[in-house]
């Protein structure tokens, strides 16, 4: 973890999370297969997020889930998990561990701060806790997870420098 900013009611840190994107039909066989590997069922409601101290599991769309490991795993284990999931012809799991960057944004002014960079409606009544969204932040495609007291924002790693500079710039001004 790297603390990026802490100022004016905003705390931003960069996290070393790992991620797997899973595609499937969300039916019984799919759920069983996932449960068999990580002892949890994928969330069933669109944009729903379930979380524990080990991972975030979110349903991105009707046939896509993201599994984010909050505690760094042995990468070989992740590849092994992907391989097991992919042994089922009707599921596609792709490794997203190191092609993404992750930012944790918290603090009382997090909404106002993020709304400098995105038009997305972050009000609790429109973006409830434990839901996720895919939207533009600082003009780039990002995924944002609302974990009640903080947001996890992820984007492609190629944007890392640009995105960090935009975050710093917004705090500065």
């Amino acid at each position: 973890m790297t603390q990026l900013l802490s100022s004016q009611g905003i705390d931003i840190s960069q996290k070393n999370f790992q991620q797997i994107i899973i595609r499937g039909d969300g039916k019984d066989q799919f759920n069983e297969k996932i449960n068999q590997e990580i002892s949890t069922f994928p969330p069933s409601k669109n944009l729903e997020v379930t979380t524990n101290d080990k991972f975030i599991f979110a349903k991105n769309s009707f046939d896509q889930w993201s599994l984010i490991y909050l505690v760094e795993q042995d990468y070989k284990e992740i590849l092994k998990f992907i391989s097991k999931i992919n042994s089922n012809d009707e599921i596609l799991a792709s490794d997203y561990s190191y092609g993404q960057v992750y930012f944790e944004i918290s603090g009382e002014n997090k909404n106002e701060f993020l709304n400098q960079l995105t038009h997305f409606d972050l009000r609790l009544k429109r973006f409830p806790a434990f839901t996720m969204a895919q939207t533009l932040i600082a003009k780039i495609d990002c995924t944002i997870y609302n974990l009640k007291d903080k947001y996890i924002v992820t984007c492609n790693k190629s944007y890392e420098d640009y995105f960090k500079e935009r975050l710093k710039d917004s705090i500065k001004l």
């Binding site: 499937g24 990468y75 596609l92 092609g99 709304n115 003009k139 190629s158």
Partner: protein, 994 residues
């Protein structure tokens, strides 16, 4: 008489502030605008008019100001600032604009004497000829003289954008806005209250029209309300925020000035552009007073009556203690009363209304206070040099001259419908109020107070409770007591009759753009009797004030000329922005380094350390070429890189390539449908160059397909095409082929990609990946292997985009740099060279490989590129198949890909040049020159030591060996070229398969 202070005003502090106007130092008070401070100092002449350079003074007290437009020298020379809005601060330096050599003596004022020449339509009629005059004379002169201020110098804005999502927006923090906000306190609604001024109150602070609210002084009530709002959980106030645009879907733009009354902090943002999305918009933005046209109604000293009143109460300055008041309505009564209450006496009160309309009560008041008054009378005009000296009042065909330096006029009040009409709401004419007012809303828009045409403040609460009854709120109860002497009434009057005619005397309808009532009449005479045409012909209300104080007047005058009702004449369109806003505010932080997001590969820093010069490929920063030494040119670097690659080995960071993983039990069928190639017989763990077409049969993208098995593929796409290809795949799966059980994931960023090629590439990769057998037998061309390496998984494919023996290496980004360095470590013995995109292009052109987007442009089929071999002819279907059999796509004379080389090998062919049959172009081209095609790629090949080029030319396949010509940028002589095969190097593929 001169200006005086109103010590009763509580909005201005007694802290003195010094400032400079046109180099001269003045003292104002903290809270003063430039205009109020200048009026306090008896400065009447503040500007010169746009066209005639006539002397102009402060006319209003707000954003509607047409005259007092100045330049702020110490704020990056910020031009076109409204003196009536901009607050002063210690050390602010202000200058007048559009005058030379000085405001007092402006040479440009000669235009006023030449004004008969500059009537409506002057520009359209005058600059038609003689031929050549436009370029050499008219345009340079107009460019030099056009505009008002001078642009800012060396200015780098730090304006920011702020997004809001709310349930209700209230525009205007005056009486209606505040009552509405009180009603919404601690309800379920998220509310944003926007106020253009630095304080709330509006009319309550601008006048003494309202005596008490709930038995409280207006000021006390405002403070109480503001506190209640601030303590509430659901309402946020934004002051100094002017709503400039009301777009579709209740999307509003407001501009907040964050440095009101203080010096700009260069380290902070000076402006915030608020982008607001709301469910309901409540317009409580009030009204704007309009003027009356009469002779010399632009002289410094003429001011709108409500603005005069505003200066008294808001800024504590009485611009003139004995002005003349000229009105056609009842709103000026409060101004007169304010003056009398302060112990001043107007020089005259002129009212065009009859005794009955004015009312006995008010007449008694005038008599009691011994104020000279003229009823059923008009101001004929005023005279003076650079400020008013005498005012001519016409009553019963007699002219009475009154001496005063100021004339306060009121031609009635207009609901401020600009934002309402921007929202596409419809307005209607009200005969009683003599103005347009909102009628039918197009969006969720509610108008309250005077913007809705409700000029009776006592009825404001009732209106709010009625119109907002659908919100889940309680009714609000407030008692409003008025100071006003009479209810609103008005007599229609747009212009008074002139008695004196001269070139100097003019009756203006648009002060900002110097349009006179005579111009309107002339325009109608010339046939411009439609209001939108007339507006453009005369430029009436087309200034930065959008004719806020005069546009309705022009409708009134035109309606009289046309003998129509105003409602029949119609209105012009009020367009956003409501008031000017700077480009820097619109751009926000999306400038300079943040203009466009930048994407970098994991090897980016290595590239910088190794003197890479970058080029933008979409948002990617890709090494273009690497400089070996500082002075090395691109040409030399590219020649060196490509020579070395063909000699030993070169490596390219190809991480930007799009990558998509495809899996599912119907993947094979999906692949056969998406690409032109056939994949059914393709062996597992092999790869294939593939083409993707649009439904029109034109090439859309290309890439390499890696087949794991019939249910699992990984494909590459072009760097720029990756998002589109993925989106198209998803769309086809969801709309055209929902029966296919296939999933696709973008893995572009999940793998870094290096392309190593050259005769020594096998030796190098064998040393890096010691466990892998790279022999021709065990690792043939267009196959791939996946294996564990450096605690991760690596995929290596034998493929090449250079024509040399080559390998593409895929690895997770966190290990990419380490592997890249390792390859260089082992590559050193073979003089491995890093090369950029320019060398990549040269190498692929030597081999005749095409680049999608360079050889193709959306009109090229696979057949045009002689890619017939890539089309699975036995396939039942694929995207674009039907289109390839159309007569147009299969004809022989389509533009086809060929190679061309100059006959004189020392010549160089430029990309984009035309391929023609004729050796010379005529000096003057009078008839079309037949064009065969264009040069799509051209390079100097270091390996062949001459220029090689690819071209798309008509019937190219049949022209092999022909002599044609290519145009050049030097003269009319064309370069003779020979049409050859586009494969210049290794047509037998010996290198590739070595």
């Amino acid at each position: 008489m001169s200006a005086a202070d109103n010590k009763n005003s509580s909005y201005i502090t007694d802290k003195e502030v010094s400032f400079k106007f046109d180099g001269k130092k003045y003292i104002g008070y903290e809270g003063d605008t430039i205009a109020s401070a200048l009026l306090r100092n008896n400065v009447r002449l503040v500007a010169r008019s746009f066209k005639y350079h006539r002397p102009r003074g402060i006319y209003t007290c707000g954003i509607e100001e047409p005259n007092g437009i100045v330049q702020i020298l110490n704020e990056h020379n910020e031009p076109n600032t409204r003196a009536t809005v901009k607050q002063i601060y210690e050390g602010i330096r202000v200058s007048s604009q559009n005058c030379w050599p000085s405001l007092n003596l402006d040479i440009g004022s000669i235009n006023n004497l030449l004004s008969p020449m500059f009537s409506a339509g002057f520009y359209y009629k005058t600059f038609m000829g003689p031929k050549g005059f436009w370029k050499r004379i008219y345009e340079p002169i107009i460019r030099r003289t056009a505009g008002l201020g001078k642009p800012p110098k060396e200015f780098r804005s730090k304006s920011i954008h702020q997004n809001h999502n709310v349930d209700i927006v209230i525009i205007g923090g005056g009486l209606s806005g505040l009552i509405t906000a009180r009603k919404l306190i601690n309800t379920q609604y998220d509310v944003l209250l926007l106020e253009q001024d630095s304080f709330l109150g509006g009319i309550l602070k601008n006048s003494k029209k309202i005596k008490r609210i709930n038995n409280k002084e207006p000021n006390e009530w405002i403070n109480e309300t503001e506190k209640l709002i601030k303590d509430s959980k659901n309402i946020k106030i934004l002051k100094n925020s002017l709503v400039t645009s009301y777009n579709f879907t209740n999307h509003l733009i407001a501009l907040e000035d964050k440095s009101v009354g203080k010096k700009i902090d260069n380290n902070k943002s000076e402006l915030t552009l608020h982008k607001i999305r709301t469910k309901h918009t409540i317009l409580a933005n009030g009204h704007i007073e309009r003027f009356i046209s009469f002779r010399n109604n632009d002289l410094p000293g003429v001011m709108l009556a409500a603005s005069f009143e505003k200066y008294i109460h808001r800024y504590g300055v009485v611009p003139e203690t004995s002005p003349v008041i000229f009105t056609n309505n009842s709103t000026t009564a409060s101004l007169l009363k304010s003056l009398v209450d302060l112990g001043h006496k107007p020089a005259a009160y002129v009212d065009s209304r009859s005794k009955d309309k004015i009312g006995r009560k008010f007449l008694n008041y005038l008599e009691k206070n011994n104020i000279p008054f003229y009823i059923n009378a008009e101001v004929e005009g005023c005279d003076g040099n650079k400020k008013i000296k005498t005012i001519s009042i016409k009553k019963s065909n007699k002219i009475i001259k009154v001496k005063s330096s100021m004339l306060c006029i009121s031609g009635g009040i207009n609901p401020d419908i600009h934002l309402f009409t921007q929202s596409k709401g419809l307005v209607k004419w009200d005969d009683k109020l003599v103005t347009f007012k909102p009628d039918v809303s197009f969006q969720n828009t509610i108008t309250l107070g005077s913007v809705s045409g409700n000029y009776n403040y006592e009825k404001t609460v009732e209106e709010i409770n009625n119109k907002l009854s659908f919100f889940k709120t309680k009714n609000i109860k407030l008692k409003i007591e008025l100071n006003d002497i009479s209810n609103f009434n008005i007599k229609e009057l747009w212009e008074t009759k002139h008695e004196r005619k001269s070139n100097w005397s003019k009756s203006f309808i648009d002060l900002h753009n110097d349009v006179t009532t005579k111009d309107l009449k002339q325009a109608v005479r010339e046939g411009f009797d439609r209001i939108e045409h007339l507006k453009r012909f005369t430029t009436n209300s087309m200034g930065t004030d959008q004719g806020k104080i005069s546009s309705i007047n022009s409708l009134g005058i035109v309606s009289k000329i046309l003998k129509k009702k105003i409602s029949e004449v119609g209105t012009t369109t009020y367009r956003p922005p409501y008031a000017p806003l700077s480009f820097s505010a619109i751009a926000g932080r999306n400038t300079y380094e943040f203009y466009d997001p930048q994407r970098k590969t994991p090897i980016h820093n290595w590239h910088i350390e190794n003197k890479a010069v970058f080029e933008d490929v979409g948002q990617w920063k890709r090494p273009w070429y690497f400089k070996k030494f500082e002075m090395e040119s691109m040409h030399l670097a590219v020649q060196r890189e490509s020579e070395q690659t063909r000699k030993t080995a070169g490596i390219l960071d190809g991480s930007t390539l799009g990558k998509i993983e495809i899996k599912g039990k119907d993947s094979l069928e999906f692949m056969n449908l998406i690409y032109t190639n056939a994949f059914t017989k393709m062996k597992p763990m092999s790869s294939r160059y593939a083409l993707m077409l649009g439904e029109d049969g034109m090439i859309k993208d290309d890439g390499i397909v890696c087949k794991f098995n019939d249910k699992h593929f990984i494909v590459t796409t072009t760097s720029g095409g990756a998002p589109k290809v993925l989106a198209d795949m998803e769309e086809y799966l969801q709309t055209e082929w929902p029966h296919l059980q296939v999933y696709v994931n973008s893995i572009t960023e999940q793998f870094s990609t290096f392309n190593i090629s050259g005769p020594k590439s096998r030796d190098i990769v064998s040393k890096v990946f010691t466990d892998v057998d790279f022999s021709n037998e065990n690792f043939p061309f267009m196959t791939f292997k996946v294996f564990d390496y450096m605690d991760t998984e690596v995929r290596i494919m034998r493929a090449s985009f250079t024509g040399e023996l080559g390998y593409e290496i895929y690895i997770t980004p966190n290990k990419a740099l380490e592997l890249w360095k390792k390859i260089f470590h082992f590559g050193k013995a073979y003089d491995l060279v890093a090369y950029g995109t320019e060398t990549m292009h040269l190498l692929r052109a030597e081999k005749g490989y095409v680049v999608i987007g360079q050889e193709t442009d959306g009109t090229v089929t696979p057949l045009d590129l002689n890619f017939n071999w890539m089309i699975g002819k036995k396939k039942k279907d694929f995207i674009g198949k039907r289109s390839l059999t159309r007569s147009d796509t299969s004809r022989d004379d389509r533009k086809q890909l060929v190679g061309i080389i100059p006959i004189d090998k020392s010549e160089f062919i430029e990309e984009g040049q035309h391929v023609v049959e004729s050796e010379r172009l005529p000096k003057r081209i009078t008839t079309p020159v037949e064009y065969l095609g264009h040069v799509s790629s051209s390079y100097h090949s270091p390996n062949l030591n001459h220029c090689i080029a690819m071209a798309m030319i008509k019937g190219g396949n049949k022209l092999m060996g022909s002599k044609l010509f290519v145009s050049s940028t030097y003269g009319t002589k064309n370069i003779p070229v020979e049409v050859v095969s586009p494969v210049f190097i290794d047509p037998e593929n010996k290198r590739l398969l070595s």
